[in-house]
């Protein structure tokens, strides 16, 4: 499972970087979204991968991480998801406004090679 998750994070980051470097506003936003997915998975994995261990305290089970999943990375991921979600929404608005203000969806507002 570690290998699967690690390569998923790697592939997501690679795809995200590729899309971000295409320098078109829509591709850029998709790329940043993929990167934030990868980062969220990465934080999540830092709580160790273990099936069948809910982060819920139950009676009669000792309060150690051998019996429970670590709840903190899940809380961190939640914060990170909310923040990246809001950022993506904002970036979409900015990109749409920039697209309607200029003639190009290139992130510089003009096609490469065009002057001024």
């Amino acid at each position: 499972m570690e290998l699967l998750l690690a390569s998923a994070i790697g592939v997501l980051i690679a795809a995200g970087v590729y899309l971000a470097l295409r320098a078109r506003s829509f591709d850029l936003i998709l790329g940043l979204t993929l990167i934030s997915y990868a980062v969220n998975l990465c934080i999540f994995a830092m709580g160790r991968l273990a099936p069948g261990k809910p982060p819920v305290i139950r009676d009669g089970v000792a309060l150690t991480l051998t019996n429970h999943a670590d709840p903190l990375p899940q809380a961190l991921v939640l914060t990170a998801i909310v923040i990246s979600f809001a950022m993506t929404a904002l970036l979409l608005v900015i990109a749409l406004r920039a697209r309607s203000a200029g003639a190009s969806d290139h992130v510089d507002g003009r096609e490469p090679g065009d002057k001024a």
């Binding site: 971000a20 506003s25 850029l28 940043l32 990167i35 934030s36 990868a38 980062v39 990465c42 934080i43 994995a45 830092m46 709580g47 160790r48 903190l72 990375p73 961190l76 914060t79 990170a80 923040i83 990246s84 809001a86 950022m87 904002l90 970036l91 900015i94 990109a95 406004r97 920039a98 203000a101 200029g102 992130v107 510089d108 507002g109």
Partner: protein, 512 residues
């Protein structure tokens, strides 16, 4: 428990929320609320500084959770100093905006307050993930503020700026996640404690997380090669926003100071002195390139942007020596350069509006209204920022050079800093002669009183220049304070012991 440490975050947050609700109210109501909040913030910051000045390190447990489970706020000399700097600049920026720039968007005051809350929170927090959250708070408001005023150019710059910072946040999260995965905590003092005891097997992961963090902070502070976004972004922002942004780059410098003295300081075992070997060469290259950028800048605001980049480079070079004298000098330089560049941003805005068509462009000649007054203010600010005597900049740079002294790389550092200072003097002199001498006094200056900068704007600029002068006059107590701050930073054991030993208050006043 004394609740003072959390108030500099709570007050602007509440004020921002109220201001957001008041967005349909008359602008004067919003102005009164915003001004009251800014004044309260300044009073709180002064109270914090008075409490921290004797070396007391206050630990505040948010929600009364013990330090290992909750988030702590830490007030020491450095945090209090930075909060005070932010509060001062926020008040002055607000004053400047009162003249009419705050009318352009209904949410200006709310965003401004949120940004102050984010800045203060970033300076006060003692938790690495919480630092990320406050970074986001201040960034989100800065996105809104950058768009303030509208226009295609601002939109495009915002797109770049937001993208850069989103990538920075992603890296920050990866670094935080790795540190948590290896060490199992995010409290900075606890991290410091655990990094010092980490086995060599974890060294690679800890060091790579530490260097990733350095990359993120370098992006915030605009260090080579991550500074390219800054001059254009700041040139696109409106003046009160740009001057608040002048503190925002200092957040990166603050974070480097905090993290690499506390977590990766001299006693940090496998992570000892992680950042310093990187900061010196990169800082020097940043200074050199920023000087060239300043020479090549085609508008006054872009020139000031490069001056900010250069000041960040100087700060990092001074910090990289990691001695009490050099960090003390760096902090004094930080105060001075923030005030001086903020003044130049306001001045650039006044010049831009005083010239009819050319704006603040340095390529075109245009008549300028109120040439003499603006020119005099420009001379003051330029002398301060170019580190010429008798202003604080000269003292600060002399202190930095003296503190670096003739250690191994001393000759290189002296050469680069002095040559770049010369370039900055040339660039500023050229900008000044172009703006104020080659153009004529605007013929309709006397008749069009509307062109005269309104009173709040002049007051704001005056206050900034005055505080720059005050920094020179009171150089002795201020440098003693910054030196004591540096001493406190370089001996983090006291802070670590305090945070780890902080006990939650017994629940005495709970309802029966």
């Amino acid at each position: 428990m004394n609740h003072l440490p959390v108030l500099p975050v709570v007050v602007p947050l509440l004020a921002g929320a109220v201001l957001a609700l008041l967005h349909t109210a008359p602008v004067n109501v919003r102005r009164v609320v915003a001004l009251l909040a800014a004044l309260a913030q300044l009073a709180l910051a002064i109270a914090l500084l008075r409490g921290a000045a004797d070396g007391t390190q206050t630990v505040y447990l948010l929600g009364n959770w013990p330090a290992y489970a909750g988030i702590v706020l830490v007030v020491d000399r450095l945090a209090a100093l930075m909060v005070l700097l932010t509060a001062t600049l926020a008040l002055i920026g607000l004053l400047y905006a009162l003249a009419g720039q705050d009318r352009r968007t209904p949410h200006f005051h709310a965003l401004f307050a949120f940004q102050v809350a984010g800045l203060s929170g970033a300076f006060l927090t003692g938790d690495l993930f919480n630092l990320f959250v406050f970074f986001e708070v201040l960034l989100i408001s800065s996105y809104g503020l950058l768009l303030h005023g509208g226009g295609a150019n601002r939109l495009r710059r915002s797109l770049h700026y937001v993208t850069f910072n989103l990538l920075g946040s992603a890296l920050f999260l990866v670094a935080v996640a790795v540190l948590y995965g290896v060490l199992g905590t995010l409290n900075m003092a606890d991290l410091a404690h655990k990094i010092a005891q980490a086995p060599p097997a974890d060294a690679v992961l800890i060091q790579s997380a530490g260097l990733l963090l350095l990359g993120v902070f370098a992006l915030k502070a605009a260090l080579l090669p991550l500074y390219l976004w800054l001059p254009n972004t700041y040139a696109a922002a409106s003046a009160p926003v740009a001057m608040l942004f002048a503190v925002m780059t200092k957040v990166g410098i603050y974070a480097v100071l905090r993290v690499y003295t506390l977590l990766f300081g001299a006693d940090a075992g496998v992570g000892a002195n992680l950042a310093w070997p990187w900061l010196l060469p990169v800082g020097l290259a940043t200074i050199a390139l920023a000087a060239l950028g300043a020479l090549a800048a085609n508008s006054l605001r872009r020139l000031v942007g490069y001056l900010i980049v250069g000041s960040a480079g100087t700060l990092f070079v001074a910090i990289a020596s990691a001695t009490e004298a050099s960090i003390g000098a760096a902090l004094y330089y930080l105060l001075h350069s923030t005030l001086a560049t903020a003044a130049l941003f306001l001045l650039a805005d006044m010049v831009r509006r005083g010239r009819q068509h050319a704006g603040d462009s340095l390529r075109r000649v245009d008549a300028l209204a109120h040439r003499n007054a603006l020119g005099l203010a420009f001379v003051l600010a330029a002398v301060a920022v170019a580190a010429l005597p008798p202003m604080a900049g000269f003292l600060a740079k002399a202190l930095v050079l003296d503190a670096i002294g003739a250690q191994g790389h001393g000759a290189w550092i002296w050469t680069v800093i002095l040559c770049s200072s010369l370039c900055v003097v040339v660039a500023l002199a050229r900008a000044g002669s172009h703006l104020f001498w080659r153009g004529e006094e605007s013929p309709d200056a006397a008749s069009s009183a509307g062109l005269r900068p309104p009173l709040p704007e002049r007051a704001a600029l005056g206050l900034l220049l005055l505080s720059s002068v005050a920094l020179t006059v009171f150089a002795d107590p201020v440098t003693q304070f910054t030196r004591a701050t540096a001493a406190q930073l370089l001996a983090p054991q006291a802070l670590i012991a305090r945070v780890l030993g902080a006990q939650p208050r017994a629940d005495t006043d709970a309802p029966p």
